[in-house]
């Protein structure tokens, strides 16, 4: 079986380029326009739960939808278009419109107990694993 989480060659290349730029002393671009999937996620396993974190600056709580089903997590939302007439856009690097991403998790999660929080543009989702997927301590017989 192929591990679902491994660095693709492109991710690895970008990481190396980032390091190179760090050494030269430049800041790195953090523009979503340069990535194919949105939002980017960090996933960590904390034993009984999985924690998924994503950066979603400018997205309002009411414009964000999160679904968990089996071992899939969907993050879906949109940015509200900026209102106003007589405007000239000199620069547009921030993303706009809608986004949707389905993330395959390594284990099934308990859909009813998923908790999500959006704060300062950072989304944190806590997904408790189903009982069968939780780590178990094996007692040694004496």
């Amino acid at each position: 079986m192929v591990a679902p989480y491994s660095l693709t060659p492109f991710t690895e290349l970008r990481r190396q380029l980032d390091q190179l730029f760090d050494e030269f002393g430049f800041g790195r671009w953090r523009s979503p326009l340069m990535t194919t999937a949105y939002p980017l996620v960090n996933i960590c396993d904390v034993g009984e739960e999985l924690h998924v974190e994503a950066e979603l600056p400018g997205v309002k709580k009411e414009d964000l939808e999160i679904f968990a089903l089996g071992n899939e997590l969907t993050i879906k939302g949109r940015w509200r278009p900026a209102a106003g007439d007589g405007q000239t856009r000199h620069r547009q690097e921030r993303p706009s419109g809608e986004f949707s991403r389905v993330i395959t998790l390594p284990v099934e999660v308990n859909e009813d107990k998923v908790a999500a929080e959006l704060k300062d543009g950072v989304l944190s989702v806590r997904l408790p694993k189903v009982e069968a997927a939780k780590p178990r301590k094996i007692m040694l017989k004496s």
């Binding site: 396993d45 400018g58 690097e93 543009g121």
Partner: protein, 130 residues
């Protein structure tokens, strides 16, 4: 259109504003000009109002957002697609901005800067004499 376009300058390391080690990121920005002001929006997820530092000196506007590390160090990361770090970017501001009246707001990880134009550069309707 008035000649007040902000000119981007890449944030550079080793300058006074970088006070912490770790990766630093250049935030994505939108720059919008209306009749009365120039609006600058910068994506700075994870920055709280007290971590925001905005400076204007000699025609250079610097925005710096401090991001508290969210990683404790003992987590088992299965996937790490992005790194967390501070945000910094500098802009050269042309003539025509009233620096004393610059206002800033921070909502949902987005910094909004209002840069009001000085009256001299605001569009005026010229009425034609009969």
């Amino acid at each position: 259109m008035v000649d007040t376009t902000l000119q981007k300058r890449e944030a550079q390391r080793g300058e006074a504003e970088q006070i912490r080690s770790g990766p630093m990121f250049i935030p994505a920005v939108d720059i919008i000009e209306t009749n009365n002001e120039i609006l600058l929006l910068a994506d700075m997820p994870g920055v709280k109002p007290d971590g925001m530092d905005i400076n204007y000196e000699a025609g250079v506007l610097t925005i710096y957002g401090r991001v508290e590390p969210r990683r404790k160090g003992d987590e088992n990361y299965l996937l790490e697609e992005y790194e967390v770090g501070d945000f910094s970017r500098r802009f050269e501001i042309g003539e025509g901005i009233d620096a004393n009246k610059i206002e800033a707001e921070l909502h949902d990880g987005v910094l909004t800067l209002h840069l009001p134009k000085t009256p001299e550069v605001m569009p005026r309707k010229i009425s034609v004499k009969a």
